[in-house]
Symmetry: C2
Subunit: 324 residues, 2 copies
């Protein structure tokens, strides 16, 4: 049987993660990385092409994994690419997912393609666990905690503050709240009360720490209302300790199965590399995407629409024997 | 829209759990409990019928949840019932699942029924997580830990020892091994090395503690090779502290996404009532069973075959908005 032929669109952290992850999936083959940059400028071991060359791959790729950003890349590329390819993306603007789904669903159906949208770990595996937790414990409450991990969006925001040379922002879950939930209490959970923020900054020369700190902790949408700790560190320290992209978190469903009988459902991830793990999930869903397309089940799909067995390299027979 | 009409076959702990759990699933309706005992002897709030009456419900039930034991009830009832009903069971003899699947698949397809087999939490949600963990982290290792919780099979075995008046057996995961795994070590995991057993016994009059203890800890298949602690307690203490059926456990997939980048995936349950939670999972899969049958997707299904969205009372539109 032939291998599943994969293309990667976009060669940032996520695209690199997919390239790396494909080494661990022997049933797949990377046909090409497609970039808006000059392909000669990317030092990849894999074949690399300009975006315009993608049209020559229309009949060659089984699945195109779109690795651009959710802010502008995916909303633009998704509808275009799904006309020609089965696609996988990790579109993560939670509020816009229903609208994005409708758009992609129509185009995919019209063109007999499958578009797996919004996969990864959140949205993705966390969504799956929010769903299952709620379905098996209808009387209960669901909590999502993120971290400890680096938030790219928040790190970017800090880097835009005048006087900041380098910055990394860590999101931290409040451990005491997690304990309280598992003890069957119902603390006042909101994104703000459940998390703290920790920022590591390398100060640019000639700037004042207190001024910079004040500007960071009062930044609306990002830090205002959160407990935020700002540390000023040396450039060396930053390069040594804060270049990684760790992340993780947990989904907890705390409920009851009858009066007095509690049940606690928890899903947890602890990742040294956020983009590599997201890539790894995307690869598994690319396999499902390929199989759905083979089976002519066209349209947009989320993790909720996909039978978990389709994610595995192994046959259902083997899985029933070994995993059930 | 009408409610999903459910029947319960067997009124032990699991059957009682389904009856209780249906109170939390307003889209479902319990039509009847079916028992081999005299229906008048069961003190249920729900309508209760003799097993022979089941044939009168052929066109009335949407799904029959089979709540008997895996040793003899389910292997006998499954093939019979699936001729007439869409069924859900929690058949848990792991080694026999492939064969049971084949039998049920053929009968279900021949009779245009859906048979969801081997659901619950293990097999069931734990199987799901073993599968997904492996699919998203192909380079890694999967560990299952059970407990702290009461094992009915082991408790039964202890109760058969001469001199034992009452007994409860708890399975305990070795916490130090869990820590080692998450620290990226690879300890020598087997069922025996990963768990300890703790037994609470009320001694019958005239028997010797040391004799009874020796017989328990040396029992092959159940205790031999395990670290087993036996406590002798009073009847009062037993009634007060050991009448519950708590259980739980975790599935851990420990892997890497690239050299030096670890990723830890963990799913965990902590349940005050094992049978009530198993029942609660069965109810969610009964909903999926009903929908698959409506959709004419006949045959046997495991948790690996079922799109998670089918488990929820909510529409996919709502789930995309609220949960993804």
């Amino acid at each position: 049987m032939g291998k599943i032929k994969i293309g990667i669109l976009g060669y940032g952290n996520l695209g690199k993660g997919v390239e790396e992850g494909l080494n661990r999936n022997p049933d797949m083959e990377l046909l090409g990385i497609f970039t808006r940059r000059n392909p000669q400028d990317l030092k990849t071991k894999s074949p690399c092409y300009a975006l315009d060359d993608l049209e020559n791959f229309k009949d060659k790729l089984d699945v195109l994994i779109m690795c651009g950003g959710s802010k502008s890349d995916i909303p633009d590329q998704g509808p275009k690419m799904t006309r020609f390819f089965n696609t996988v993306d990790s579109f993560d603007k939670h509020g816009k997912i229903p609208e994005y789904f409708e758009t992609m669903d129509q185009i995919a159906k019209d063109n007999k393609k499958v578009a797996v949208i919004s996969t990864g770990w959140d949205p993705g595996l966390f969504s799956l666990n929010r769903l299952i937790g709620e379905a098996v414990l209808p009387e209960g409450k669901t909590y999502t905690f993120w971290g400890r991990g680096v938030s790219q969006g928040h790190s970017d925001a800090v880097r835009k503050v005048k006087g900041v040379k380098k910055a990394a922002q860590y999101t931290l879950p409040k451990e005491e709240m997690i304990k309280a939930i598992k003890a069957g209490q119902d603390p006042a959970y909101t994104g703000q009360t459940a998390h703290e923020r920790e920022v590591f900054v390398v100060l640019a020369e000639g700037f004042d720490r207190d001024e910079v700190r004040k500007e960071i902790v009062n930044m609306p949408d990002y830090f205002l209302g959160y407990k935020t700790l700002v540390h000023f560190i040396s450039d060396e320290e930053f390069e040594r300790d804060h270049r990684g992209m760790p992340h993780g978190g947990k989904v907890i469903r705390q409920g009851i199965t009858s009066k007095g009988h509690s049940a606690s459902y928890q899903f947890e991830l602890d990742l040294a590399s956020n983009p590599e793990f997201t890539a790894s999930v995307n690869i598994a869903y690319a396999r499902a995407c390929y199989r759905l397309a083979k089976n002519e089940e066209y349209g947009a799909k989320t993790v909720l629409d996909i039978a978990p067995g389709l994610l595995s390299m192994c046959s259902m027979e083997e899985l029933r024997k070994r995993i059930i």
